[in-house]
């Protein structure tokens, strides 16, 4: 069929009105492909029919529009809801491998992390213990340094007058050293060479002032306290003596228990 025959066949009109049979439809669509310029002819017919339909239009009830629009948009929303599970089903079959890899990687990372964490915790714990030990050592050393410094200050004080108290026949090996500050009268004692006092007993210092013994304070000789200790002050004294008394001291010296003495 050539172009003119086709145009005069009336098939294009049938097609434009969508009343052509399937065979006629096929002929029209093939002919339109063959002669694209016929599309304009088709469109002219369609536009004429469209205008004819508009002239014969009837306004639908006013309520129809809102119903249709809300239904169309609601159905659109429903359709999205409907398609969502379909997509997820597809994903279930398409992506399990991906999830397996993710899960495996996550598990390896988790185990690795636990191992590393445990090892770090051990190291941390050890380091903390070491630190505590070191800090204690330093503290002890600082204390002993401080005590030593105090000792040194007393010993090297230019006003310090050292008095050596020598052992009595009762304790011939005992020695004690007093540092008597000439400017202040302060008395310090170094008990390092006194024997440790027996349980329930304590050494007590006495100053002999105008022939009478005056209490000079208790001397601590427990282990670890063998440092120079500050005693009571004496403005003047004829002699110093140390006796072994009951713990807490006595108001008057027990002369039989005198261990060291020095006359000034």
């Amino acid at each position: 069929m050539n172009k003119e025959e086709f145009i005069s066949s009336g098939l294009l009109e049938l097609y434009a009105m969508r009343i052509s049979s399937p065979e006629e439809t096929q002929i029209v669509e093939e002919t339109l492909k063959q002669f694209p310029e016929l599309k304009q002819e088709l469109e002219d017919i369609e536009i004429s029919l469209e205008e004819y339909a508009q002239v014969n239009a009837i306004e639908p009830p006013a309520s129809a529009k809102e119903k249709i629009i809300s239904r169309v948009f609601a159905e659109g929303a429903n359709e999205e809801n409907k398609t969502a599970p379909v997509i997820s089903i597809n994903k279930k079959t398409a992506i399990p491998m991906f999830y397996k890899w993710i899960a495996a990687a996550a598990l390896i990372l988790l185990i690795g992390s636990i191992i590393v964490n445990y090892s770090y915790y051990e190291k941390y714990h050890d380091a903390k213990q070491e630190l505590i030990t070191a800090q204690r050592t330093i503290e002890q050393q600082q204390k002993s340094n401080q005590a030593m410094n105090q000792d040194m200050e007393i010993v090297t004080n230019k006003y310090a007058e050292p008095v050596l108290l020598k052992g009595t026949p009762k304790a011939p090996d005992a020695v004690a050293k007093i540092f008597w500050m000439k400017n202040t009268g302060d008395v310090y004692i170094n008990p390092t060479n006194l024997p440790q006092a027996p349980a329930g007993k304590q050494y007590q210092l006495w100053g002999i002032v105008d022939g009478k013994p005056v209490d000079g304070g208790m001397i601590r000789t427990e282990k670890g306290t063998y440092h120079i200790q500050k005693m009571k002050s004496f403005g003047k004294a004829d002699a110093f003596a140390i006796t072994l008394e009951k713990a807490g001291g006595s108001p008057t010296p027990t002369m039989s228990e005198m261990v060291v003495i020095a006359k000034m």
């Binding site: 029919l49 239009a57 639908p60 129809a64 948009f73």
Partner: protein, 200 residues
């Protein structure tokens, strides 16, 4: 199309109120927007084509309530199946007419429709139909209706049966009791005349 308000009801279905808009789309723009699911383009489509489609639906259905239902079905189908519209096979309106016409014809074959029409025929079918003759003034303002009076009655009849009601040439031949050849020539001259009137 301007969307002025979008209110949300309890069931989260948006109620959108469209106000008349002066925007005019050409066919290509409209198709592109509708393919993209543009809702305002759909409202434009409704504003411009619902009356023409309703005229066709009503002619077949001949009942207000049912015709409105079919119009609703037709627009839902147009929206949901828009991706299947192929512009190379014809104009958008031609495609929409086919949908509306097929839905209408299917409806008239349904049992509930036949029952409803029985009830209606017992009531006021005549006034019902006469309420709706040529209510669309938009095109009348162009004076087209008057020009179309130049179309002969038998030419109008054959276009109406074929285009509006989807009758094939054979069916028209049987219905009108005229030979198929006469139907063919009359249909072609009717459309040529229509073209001459509308596109001088």
């Amino acid at each position: 199309m301007v969307i002025i308000l979008s209110l949300f009801l309890n069931d989260h279905v948006p109620t959108i109120i469209f106000l008349p808009d002066t925007t005019k789309y050409n066919e290509e723009e409209l198709i592109a927007l509708l393919k993209g699911g543009d809702e305002s383009a759909f409202a434009y489509l409704y504003d411009n084509y619902s009356a023409a489609l309703y005229g066709i639906i009503y002619r077949i259905i001949n009942n207000n309530q049912v015709a409105e239902d079919v119009l609703q079905e037709a627009f839902v189908k147009i929206w949901n199946n828009f991706s299947s519209y192929n512009a190379s096979k014809g104009r958008l309106f031609t495609w929409m007419v086919n949908i509306a016409r097929n839905l209408s014809i299917d409806t008239t074959r349904g049992k509930s429709y036949k029952q409803q029409m029985k009830i209606q025929s017992n009531e006021n079918a005549v006034t019902n139909a006469s309420n709706h003759i040529n209510e669309n003034d938009r095109f009348d303002s162009l004076g087209l209706r008057q020009q179309l009076s130049a179309l002969k009655e038998d030419q109008k009849q054959i276009i109406d049966l074929a285009y509006f009601e989807g009758f094939t040439q054979n069916e028209i031949s049987q219905k009108l009791g005229i030979p198929l050849g006469t139907v063919k020539t009359r249909m072609r001259t009717a459309i040529l005349e229509l073209k001459k009137i509308l596109q001088p």
